[in-house]
Amino acid sequence: DVKVTQSSRYLVKRTGEKVFLECVQDMDHENMFWYRQDPGLGLRLIYFSYDVKMKEKGDIPEGYSVSREKKERFSLILESASTNQTSMYLCASDLRHSNQPQHFGDGTRLSIL
């Protein structure tokens, strides 16, 4: 069965810290995505990657960076965490140039204090 795994379900960090969120998929998908989810705003795309070492900015990339060193792993990095980055973060993956749905992980609820 398809599996997207996010390393943490809940995470609490302090402002100014560098934060890493990890995501691993076991489906050999080319595309991987990072979203943040906030009440009333739905899901907003932060970054996506369509191949190893390739990335594209989504709708809200400011304050974030990403890393894709291996096909199965996509990391989201908060260089200097701020309180307005407190949110639910969701990772997803799918096949490139496909009409098939994206598969999602269980999410990481991140709190920045």
């Binding site: 899901l43 490139r96 140039h97 009409n99 269980d106 999410g107």
Partner: protein
Amino acid sequence: AQSVTQLDSQVPVFEEAPVELRCNYSSSVSVYLFWYVQYPNQGLQLLLKYLSGSTLVKGINGFEAEFNKSQTSFHLRKPSVHISDTAEYFCAVKNTDKLIFGTGTRLQVFP
């Protein structure tokens, strides 16, 4: 740019009643549409998808949706809801490699 509108942010309903969650999308030459469900503190799970063919699509948990090209709609329906259907529901359209999401509808089922 593609967009998806879910007009109802919340839908309260009694158990065993029918429900419709509305979704409209901006038109496009070819369109792939999805409904996802999110239970509390979980990720998104695919309910159903429309890729082509029959406009009535059946999904998991007794849900179905109808693709209406002339009205650019993809409303989600269930004839009789259960308490366990309480969740947030997201409509999405696929545009090249990206999914465009609506803002979600919270379905709350009361006993």
